[in-house]
């Protein structure tokens, strides 16, 4: 049977990775408290919101993401690859817990949901853990993840600036002079969130990808007021439409996945016409930037593995470190044949916005920063092993590309850096033989304690 959002809470709690907070907490303070906890947080009482509980920072470390995915930390990319290779179609069911309570008409009121204020420069309270569903008459259903900024009891902003299938759907609706119906599910399993953030081809149903990750179909229910389907086990669903006003409403700033505050953007408005939720709802506060980053890691790591294989390089391990926001940096170890350190760099630097790639041999533990430093110290000669590719596509949110100097509509470029930290050709492997302690297998410290 497919696992749900509440199963993840149980898995984390059983592993000692979830902290319950029983004292009542003001929604103003939810995010700051979650940021101070080493564990995921579960707020049992929220001031002014009887019946609501809030969970946050569920997958804000690689370890917790791996627990939620039921695999080892080193295997999140392969686990993701396995899932997307075997999509399983979603199944429509008659009823779901996400519709146990229905607010329509005058009852629709976003202020009745404990939407938190996260960062000190945010443009307002944000719903960050969204799975947004839309449909196009020609292309069919799409599922993505887009942040929502509270505006009024019935309206939010939605960040639809970046290129996406839903942006295309909205543009097509706008051209036809009609709104685009959407439904927003909050409080779903990380697999659904991963599928939503994965840039699948436009004809691929993200629900089927989530099904592949689960190994079981995602159960869907029909929405009450829009012709869309949402996961039956979601905690909360918002139904409504993107108004046909184009990119005209202020939205943001928001604490972005780059760990930096973004700019005010001009975006459409989401008008909510129906809210459904569980009888005992848990609001999922996706803790920026960490959860956003880690939910990107399996996707970018899987893309790195694929790029290496296309380049005929055998990958052993891959890691998208959170210091690079699990987006701009890839570190990989490979089974190297002559020249493949450089081939691997070229492959990794071709992945999306990756601007720093490091490649090591398979004897280096790329999850150990000391081991990685050691490889970069003794296996790198900067005049031979560093690759710089100028003028590649960059991203506005990276301050070093100086996007502000480009003018409206200007697209930034960036230089990409590759470091080949594999054993240089011509240097015998024996030169790198590690120290071994005398009699290390003959004695055990436990016997002397």
């Amino acid at each position: 049977m497919k696992q749900g959002f509440r199963d993840v809470l149980r898995v984390l709690e059983d592993a000692g990775e979830l902290r319950r907070i029983k004292k009542a907490v003001d929604p103003r303070h939810l995010s700051a408290l979650a940021a101070q906890a080493k564990e995921a947080t579960f707020f049992e009482t929220v001031e002014g919101y009887p019946g609501w509980r809030v969970a946050g920072a569920l997958v804000s470390t690689r370890k917790r993401l791996a627990r939620a995915m039921g695999c080892a930390e080193a295997d999140i990319a392969r686990r993701f690859e396995d899932g997307i290779r075997r999509p399983i179609d979603a199944r429509l069911v008659d009823a779901g817990a996400c519709q146990e309570v229905v607010w329509q008409g005058d009852d629709v009121d976003l202020t009745a949901i404990p939407i938190p204020l996260m960062h000190d420069k945010d443009g307002g309270p944000y719903i960050s853990a969204t799975m947004v569903v839309s449909k196009d008459p020609e292309y069919g259903r799409n599922v993505g993840s887009y942040r929502l900024m509270y505006r009024t009891p019935r309206e939010t902003g939605i960040d639809l600036v970046s290129s996406s299938d839903m942006r295309r759907y909205y543009q097509r609706a706008l051209d036809a002079g009609r709104p685009l119906e959407i439904a927003v599910a909050v409080g779903v399993h990380p697999y659904e969130m991963l599928a939503a953030s994965y840039k699948a081809p436009i004809d691929v149903d993200e629900y089927a990808i989530a099904g592949g990750l689960h190994g079981a179909p995602v159960e869907l229910v029909r929405c009450k007021t829009v012709d869309l389907e949402v996961p039956a086990d979601a905690e909360l669903v918002l139904e409504g439409e993107l108004l046909p006003i184009g990119w005209t409403a202020d939205e943001g700033p928001f604490g972005e996945f780059s760990h930096i505050t973004g700019d005010v953007k001009w975006n459409p408005i989401f008008r909510v016409r129906c809210i459904t939720h569980r009888r005992d709802p848990i609001f999922y506060m996706l803790q920026m930037p960490w959860e956003n980053d880690w939910l990107a890691a399996p996707v970018i790591e899987a893309a790195g593995l694929q790029a290496l294989r296309i380049a005929s390089v055998e990958p052993v391990a891959i890691r998208a470190p959170v210091g690079g926001c699990c987006y701009w940096t890839l570190v990989a170890s490979i089974k190297k044949r002559p020249g493949e350190g450089k081939n691997a760099l070229l492959a990794l630097l071709s992945v999306a916005e990756v601007k720093l790639a490091i490649v090591t041999d398979d004897d280096i533990d790329i999850y150990d920063p000391d081991d990685l430093d050691w490889a970069m110290t003794f296996r790198v000669q900067a005049d031979h092993d560093v690759l710089i590719v100028p003028g590649a596509r960059g991203k506005h949110i990276d301050p070093s590309v100086r996007a502000w100097s480009l003018g409206k509509g200007g697209l930034p470029t960036t230089a990409k850096l590759g470091i080949d930290a594999t054993i240089p050709e011509g240097v015998p492997r024996e030169q790198y033989e590690r120290l071994r302690y005398f009699a290390r297998d003959a004695v055990r410290l436990e016997d002397y304690l």
Binding site: A112, L117, D120, D122, G124, T152, P153, P253, D263, V264
Partner: protein, 62 residues
């Protein structure tokens, strides 16, 4: 318009502010009341932004 919403408008007329500054200025107001009042301020359609992304009340046209 509620007194709280009127107060928010007055604060924004005085100088541009981030949303968090408005929240900090009303620490004892229930979160839901603050969000409702913010909705009223939005409804005025007089909100603008300065170059730092802070909210301000746009100057009257004319």
């Amino acid at each position: 318009m509620s007194p709280l919403a009127e107060g928010l408008v007055a604060e924004l007329r005085a100088r541009p502010r981030h949303f968090a500054e408005l929240v900090e200025a009303h620490p004892t107001v229930a979160w839901r009341d603050l969000l409702r009042a913010w909705g009223e301020v939005r409804g005025l359609e007089a909100l603008g932004r300065d170059e730092h992304g802070r909210y301000q009340i746009a100057a009257p046209r004319g």
